[in-house]
Symmetry: C2
Subunit: 329 residues, 2 copies
């Protein structure tokens, strides 16, 4: 699947992924009106509005982009009907030939992580049948529980030729609260944490240690182009950390959130890529799907929200191209 | 909701929670047969089997216990039908007066965390209506993304008088890989992690730093009995760390997984409690719900699996009582 993603990036010339994170405030009034008239101001109505919104944006942009990244929380908030809209969106995007990255940030231990992996990337045994629950191409995974939590995902990836992106350095302002803490190099087994006194060691931030662990995991399953099925998430808002992590995880594709609304710019992104313009894929959510609400695209009007999204994709590709041109790539 | 949980613990004399984590291998053949005959060897069939299994166990144990903890991964693996069985289980347990802890381990940033919080603890705005997606009483939350990720849950907790348990030290063997790393005391802003050389500081493990942060969060919302709506998860398999964390987070109730099958014993649990036998609630999943598969309870037979579960609950209460008696509480 990493090979498919790379081929699609090369074909479109667009190392970008559109974040399908529809909240009610992004959905134009005429879509909500139609959905609520049919299904009421209910979870079903919200789910229908989300689906109509997504479908229009996908139809309008799918020839320009390699991938989409639906954020499952935005669907889960609408309960079972919302999750059904998530599944419908995933299935529709795959039909359209897009690579689907399920932004689920799941992570647990042992058999529980295995259940999440089967839910989103694999197939579960029911009697003598194998059934797929959601069936994305990639998912995002939280590493806080360590290898026990991540290995079950890797095992399913090998089985299904799918991939994961492990959270390493997230794009939010408080991501440093734990991720930036300088840590010891090795693990002190059984450190009870009381009265350990002064310890001298070379401190590296936790995200770098997590990045090194991702690099080790990534060796397990490498595609034909040299990049692994096991990638990482590093926020566009932390370009300097991106530069370090690009080197720490040479085989890991980096999924880069935080471009646009969160403050990341095209120039910030360069460090996440290798010299062949590969190795990273940049997400934009609100900047694309709610482009029509941005003054820059207001001429489209809310009726033509999907055309505004298309223009925003074209502008994002140009922004990244210009940043590459600036460094002669 | 923390007050309701404590009252129920005091009434039942059982600081325990039954983990409703049904995998197909725990569900007795006669239940699977009935479900598959009705709905086929499909996701719907699996979900029906899970629901029938859960209902029997809840009916058989609900007078003995204060709370249940369904692990959503075990339902999510069966896709939309599985998640519908999760919701049905949550609703049924709440009808029975049980406190429901959704073990969802969600965690994201800003508006995305807010969406998860609304999904599981709150109500989402649809037009002029407020709709609840899943509606548990508590959920578990992953702290890797820092305060941005957790605060939206706390805000919804305040609004809905519900609670969370934040992962601090998990019960799995590899939990130390990141959680036990000794870390610096403060956050070094902008630490790029290269060539920092030797740094001297008092190192405490990351889980303790996370525990201190939970203690700060917990101050925001304290119940009438002195315990906060903001609790923590600490594995029974790490009793020494439990002892430290009990002191670090004096107002946080501790949800303790890892008893039984994962190796934790009654004796290990004492340190997680305060002197009034409060402050902790111990989870057992497989040990209760699949008790009939354990040689100790084989006399019940698979037809009477729910009676075996009831006996296993009684034995677990006795085990904890004896451990308290051993230290004179």
């Amino acid at each position: 699947m990493i090979d498919k993603l790379i081929k699609k990036i090369q074909k479109t010339g667009a190392p970008i992924v559109v974040g399908l994170d529809p909240t009610m405030k992004f959905v134009p009034e005429h879509i909500k009106k139609a959905a609520f008239e049919e299904k009421g101001e209910t979870l079903e109505g919200a789910a229908e509005a989300v689906w109509l919104f997504n479908k229009a944006i996908v139809d309008s942009t799918c020839d320009l982009i390699p991938a989409v990244k639906p954020q499952i929380a935005m669907y889960e908030q609408f309960g079972i009907p919302g999750l059904a809209a998530f599944k419908k969106t995933v299935d529709y995007c795959r039909e359209k030939g897009l690579v689907v990255i399920g932004d689920v940030k799941r992570g647990d231990i042992g058999s529980t992580s295995a259940a999440y992996a089967l839910a989103h990337l694999g197939r579960v045994q029911v009697g003598s049948s194998l059934c797929a629950g959601f069936d994305e191409d990639f998912v995002t995974v939280n590493p806080y529980l360590g290898s026990d939590g991540v290995q079950p995902f890797i095992d399913v990836c090998k089985e299904e030729k799918k991939g994961i992106f492990v959270l390493v350095k997230t794009s939010n302002p408080s991501s440093g609260e734990f991720q930036d803490r300088l840590v010891q190099d090795g693990v002190t087994a059984g450190a009870a944490g009381e009265g350990t006194g002064e310890i001298s060691f070379s401190g590296r931030p936790l995200y770098e240690v997590v990045g090194e662990t991702v690099a080790k995991w990534s060796e397990q399953f490498v595609g034909e182009n040299g990049y692994s099925y096991i990638g990482a998430v590093v926020g566009a808002t932390y370009p300097e950390q991106g530069r370090v992590l690009r080197k720490v995880m040479p085989k890991s594709f980096i999924l880069v959130p935080g471009y646009g609304t969160q403050g990341g710019t095209g120039k910030d992104l360069i460090h996440f890529f290798d010299e062949n313009r590969l190795g990273a894929i940049v997400n934009s959510s609100r900047g694309i799907i709610a482009a029509y609400q941005n003054e820059k695209y207001s001429k489209f009007g809310s009726e033509n929200f999907a055309d505004a999204s298309r223009q925003a994709v074209i502008d994002m590709i140009t922004d990244i191209d210009q940043a590459f041109a600036g460094v002669g790539r």
